[in-house]
Symmetry: C2
Subunit: 449 residues, 2 copies
Amino acid sequence: MGHAIRTIMKTPLRIGVAGLGTVGASLLRLLAQRRAALGLVAGRPIDVVAVSARDRTRDRGVDLSGYTWFDDPVALAREAEVDCVVELIGGSDGPAKATVEAALARGVHVVTANKALLAAHGMDLAVEAERRGAALAFEAAVAGGIPVIKTVRESLVGNEITQIAGILNGTCNYILSRMEQDNLSFEKCLAEAQKLGYAEADPTFDVDGHDTAHKLAILASLAFGGRIDADAVRVEGIRSIKQIDIRMANRLGYRIKLLGVAVRTADGVEQRVCPTMVEKTQPLARVMGVTNAVNIDANAVGELTLVGPGAGGDATASSVIADIVDIAQAGSRGPVFAAPAGDLQHMERAPVKDHPGGYYVRVNLLDKPGAAASVVSRMAEAGISLESIVQRRSPKAAERDPTGRSGAKVPVILITYDTTEDAVRGALQKAVADGFVGSSPQVIRIERN
Amino acid sequence: MGHAIRTIMKTPLRIGVAGLGTVGASLLRLLAQRRAALGLVAGRPIDVVAVSARDRTRDRGVDLSGYTWFDDPVALAREAEVDCVVELIGGSDGPAKATVEAALARGVHVVTANKALLAAHGMDLAVEAERRGAALAFEAAVAGGIPVIKTVRESLVGNEITQIAGILNGTCNYILSRMEQDNLSFEKCLAEAQKLGYAEADPTFDVDGHDTAHKLAILASLAFGGRIDADAVRVEGIRSIKQIDIRMANRLGYRIKLLGVAVRTADGVEQRVCPTMVEKTQPLARVMGVTNAVNIDANAVGELTLVGPGAGGDATASSVIADIVDIAQAGSRGPVFAAPAGDLQHMERAPVKDHPGGYYVRVNLLDKPGAAASVVSRMAEAGISLESIVQRRSPKAAERDPTGRSGAKVPVILITYDTTEDAVRGALQKAVADGFVGSSPQVIRIERN
């Protein structure tokens, strides 16, 4: 009773929520459930006063009658009597961008879960937020319920961060985990992910690595103190991963993960998203299913690993609420990224260097004399040494063609020593032109520790 | 240049550091190294102006000439012209407590790494801090460089936390890891830990579980919103763990970890620190050496795991700096614990319940007829069902005494089904009294998932 009276006497933080999908519905429910506790911590009540979504009539399992309804989220951002707009619309442009801009233009704080928006326009929005004295908070935009933004932005402020590596897309990690655990093809696992709601009808954004790249670009900016540069991320998705790659990785002591990695070197920053063979003993190799994980190397703490849910309504709403309470306590606190946005510089792209773990290469090789020699000599010409060559003819193929002279193709696995991906791809291109190797060879980076 | 001018024009946050051991020296070095970046994020310069330690002449690898020296930390807290005192003295009472009290008494913010102080006096200090409008920040007090306080206090504010389980003492985890990896006794591993500086000359505080208990009590207060109650923690250390326990755990698919666990139930809060068999597939089982880890179950995010360095000068200083920058940005922000300290209630202790994982029991059994029957019937009397009984006579013992009738003692392992630790210990006490069982049987909780 004492609390309630004290809390009510303070000015509430008035919230407008734009977008009432899964996360929006979770947010309204959790804010109502935790109202008293949040009021105590925030020092003032947190009151949702306005909402906006496309369809007013849809049943979201929450009572919307107490909130002012806006058909247009931009109108909400422009007109509603709110101190903070929560943008949960999604998409890099269109109404999401217009909503955030409208809120910032009148100095209203913004909380967003929108990585695409930040990856494309984060710098401009941050400049505007800082100019208006408004907060632009986005814990929910990267790794869902894992507090990685707060960790990098606040907890590691005393550190020079040297590397961030993460499993940042639950859809991809679910598919790769299922492929390994249940011996299924990429296509089957994708279909299952879609059925379970882990993947969109159009899965391009997730499985081709773009979602991971957006999140990585945001993390890299925060960690290294430069402008967000999503175009600098080298992106490769998981569509080309086959069962044989999963099985071979397993035999070699690795697990294939879609990693987003940003590394600071003396010559610049490298940002890449690609399927990677991670040693099974490493923490990231053990993260299975839709779970996300982020591994941070920093000079003072050494290594820090955070593991948790990368998506889901409640988990994402949990991060949104953390941002809201921070704003309720202290408004806009510190620059949006690592330094005032207008002062952030372009990050130099690190030049391509030999990767000390080498590469896993799978080619479909014409099963006849001279074929293997051709690939190996193309590799040698490019200065690439091979650690091993494994030719795996299936028992069926061996039965059909005991002499191996039919001209059928067989998968051959090459493991290289230290080299660059460019060198490997260049050599493979020549081998394909030689006519001994099928098109689209598979190249996967190996991380050894 | 632009930054520098802008920053210098703002009022600096003036810091006094009390205690210049490993963490203090790291703190001074890191604050100097990161001065420009910290000023940008904090929006004002962070200036150490005063220091205090016992020995002014000791070489700490940092230049102290720019700071006002105080022989007495309490004098620093009382008289130095500072906005924030960092207490790195240690100990639950004495100069550490007097220093923090003196700082708070005049409304000066406090950052501390002192878990013993908080476990004993955290509630009183929080009341005083909140009354004076001063911050009392303590990220460094629990799990060193892992941002677990910020995560529980800020990131999970929208959640109801149901359980926190952690490896919170690097010394114990180092010893248990070495015992497993190198087949060494507890005593040998402790000696090595002392040689490497991982354990104190008097290791009681660490190896008997008290350090873990202090950290757990602080986490439980934050997570469950009750008063810190270190006396409520059931504490057992790792001195009694023998090689045979490590090997048997391994064979059963577990690893022995000293866990601190706080669980919220409908009937109250259970807090315990004890050696625990954790399934090897679980994240906490994989944390080896001096590394710490915390696993949090919460209703909105589900499960979150943080892994990182639990000690070390730089890692701990990293957490101190995060607290300092928070204070520089927004002073005291929100209550010290989950709600205003004066309003926090005593947490009910959860009544003892059957533990669904059962227990591992090792007894030294007199190697003669009737001995095993006696133990088993004492267990049965107490309503305890046994999943398995394994008697492991060493090959040497079998050679010396092929009939097994010499009256020598042999280790026998019992695995129970669901039961309480009290029931197990009661039955064992009777079995000891029967004369068939050696004193001090080993009882280890098994966690199955």
